[in-house]
Symmetry: C2
Subunit: 419 residues, 2 copies
């Protein structure tokens, strides 16, 4: 590949919104009936414009744009979001814009295309992601989101297809390695605790304790109809149905100079490992084999190992996924993820802080935005911008792992603090 170096200059996330967030307009909100939650166009525009203003970057300098989105056609009756990105700022009109989709990895694909564009010769590229999905019932939304699975074959597993697919994984994983429900519960407790310190997090105001997270109860029920998997997924095990957008600016060394910036303002994107499994074949469910493959490619290309990683954002679409990610990324051996979580090593003050802003469970999961949000969060941690959830010493190597579907499209990206 091209030897051109690639930098993430930075970016911005909007508030992630949905049920359970005090700002979300919903039955008991004082503004219910008076105003509406922001739509897909407003969110995209807000993330893009905040990115330009926060970074002090001239929008005229942007040469390309990519926007990750999963199912805007379904929730918002709007496809063709490249044209919405072009319409997000007057300086972007007539520039080349592309929407990427790979289910929950749609944002990671936008970043990967932006990195390719820099390697191909561009100097300043915009990568964004957006999703709105709170405007339908959970049941209708679950059907839409099932388009990330092999619908024809997998839709029928449950009305809530993805919770059931990951209930299946949880069962296989727990049986294979003897992991307890309490060990898995630590993931939810950490996610909510971190989100409680993050003003943009969907779950910034909801608490979660280990007792609640470790077993089904009236306030933390199971909800699947599928009898085999129902007991393996409780509400606290799920990421959130959120609306939100994220944007970031990717630059070459020349791009940094053109925007009046230096390497100290940015983090370097060392490598992306990108693997795509077949939609048609599930394989062994006790590990994330595609994630493992992507991580191997990333580490090899970046010239680093798992031990070098000092902060990570991983795809915790369900609690079990975070444990499986620890293992696939090499933070621990297969089957040891629960012990790693229970040890506290992945908390903000731990040895390898993971999902410091709350992850998909606490910060929220506006599907198409998530991959971009992860990169923005790593940048924020590396530059000391995380406020109440800032890690104490600035990390020099960070990692993101963005996953689409059930371990189907995976992008693992390594970053080095350039400053």
């Amino acid at each position: 590949m091209s030897s051109r170096r690639v930098f993430l200059l930075g970016g911005a996330n909007t508030q992630f919104l949905g049920k359970g967030n005090p700002d979300y307009i919903w039955k008991n909100h004082p503004d219910f009936g008076k105003r509406e939650n922001p739509g897909i166009e407003e969110l995209l525009r807000a993330a893009v414009n905040e990115t330009f203003s926060k970074l002090g970057a001239d929008p005229e300098a942007v040469e390309r744009g990519y926007v990750g989105n999963f199912v805007g056609e379904l929730f918002c009756q709007q496809g063709h979001l490249g044209a919405a990105l072009a319409g997000s700022h007057p300086a972007l009109v007539n520039k080349p814009m592309t929407r990427t989709e790979g289910a929950c990895a749609s944002g990671g694909l936008a970043l990967a295309c932006a990195v390719d564009a820099i390697k191909a010769g561009c100097d300043v590229v915009l990568a964004a992601g957006v999703e709105v999905q709170t405007n339908e019932s959970a049941r209708v939304g679950a059907d839409y989101l099932a388009r990330a699975s092999h619908y024809r074959r997998q839709r029928s597993i449950d009305d809530f297809t993805f919770p059931a697919l990951f209930g299946r994984r949880t069962k296989v994983y727990r049986e294979a390695f003897g992991v307890s429900e309490e060990e898995i519960g630590h993931v939810a407790v950490k996610a909510y605790a971190n989100a409680n310190k993050n003003p943009l997090a969907h779950m910034r105001a909801r608490r979660m304790d280990l007792d609640t997270a470790s077993g089904a109860s009236e306030k933390n029920p199971t909800f699947l109809q599928n009898a085999e998997f129902a007991s393996y997924i409780k509400m606290s095990d799920c990421s959130q149905v959120s609306d939100g957008a994220s944007a970031a600016i990717i630059v070459s060394a020349d791009g940094l100079r053109r925007l009046g910036k230096s390497e100290a303002d940015a983090i370097e994107i060392l490598a992306i490992g990108h693997s795509t499994a077949s939609l048609y074949d599930d394989g062994d469910l006790s590990q994330l084999w595609t994630t493992r493959d992507a991580a191997g490619k990333c580490y090899a290309a970046a010239g680093i190992g798992a031990r070098d990683v000092q902060v990570a954002e991983v795809h915790d679409c369900f609690t079990v996924t975070e444990l499986l990610m620890y293992e696939a990324l090499g933070f621990c051996e297969p089957g040891q993820g629960g012990k790693l979580a229970a040890s506290g090593a992945t908390r903000i003050d731990g040895r390898i802080p993971v999902n410091t802003g709350g992850g998909l469970i606490g910060f929220g999961h506006p599907v198409g935005a998530t991959g971009v949000k992860q990169a923005v969060e790593i940048w924020r941690q590396m530059k000391g911008k995380c406020g109440d959830y800032q890690v104490t010493s600035l990390p020099s190597v960070g990692l993101t792992a963005n996953m689409g579907g059930d371990d189907r499209t995976v992008l693992v990206t390594a970053y080095r603090n350039a400053g």
Copy 2:
């Protein structure tokens, strides 16, 4: 941009199928109830595998893949088609795959990403496109396809949003330049005549004469409810609602060697001009300003002019669009497209043959495949593979113009015959 040269090694199209094609399974077909038309997974697999076998290219050599698709989530309940591409051949599993979307330019975006990947350092990249859309009624399908427009603002123009938007363009264009219905009719006559020579064309068995194409009649009715635009769009003015897939292999000079090929086997991709207008602003409708912008970028980067183009595939989503394309691409002056069509200059035996296989009107328009199909068709013309619709002397410079929405996402690509 990177100075690495990029080649289109070739590709394949499936049969384009839909109502009006003798092979399409539909009420009066002898196999009705016995077998079904191919689905999105079969079509994609067929195009990919035929590409490998036809070109004698080793699938193991592929380093990346991109697949253009507009609304698989709606017609087929299937998103995440990158994973379907990975599942199309065992050698593709775990390679990086990305779905691109830009409405009817989704396939062009897949090609553009593939070209970037080569410029970034890859040597062999797969670009595919697919759409299935005949499995819903025309009215439901029109609502799905309206996601290519600014739905919130433009959906209500008519139940058939895009025919109405281009009825509006036809009215503005005819009034601005005094173009007759008969002049526009020449586009449909040429499209069907060319398709009649193309065994893969959706409309290979349907005839169209100038009398029929030049005015509404019982066999060529208008169908819009919108009173202002209804008379401007007849059935013969529309591209087809087709199912189909296309695939192509894009390579570097090293990639050619790695596959045991030489420049003589390929055509060179000189440049892509890619422009994206704002979804929110329609502007002057008498010309395709975004197409003009993309063409200008393409010609400048390729170091050629409109006069150098010897064969072209342009986006004739409606008859008027082909005339507007002639003008935006510089084949004639604004307002002179009708005269150019009537002169016969764009027929297979004309000075600048356009849409020799039938275009979107005759060959058909499986939305996500179209941009890739255009490139495959240019390659086939340049290499003398078009059989009954082959132009007499092999062109040395070719052009494609792929458009998403109403002149919103446009990719104009220039090719040089390397052999």
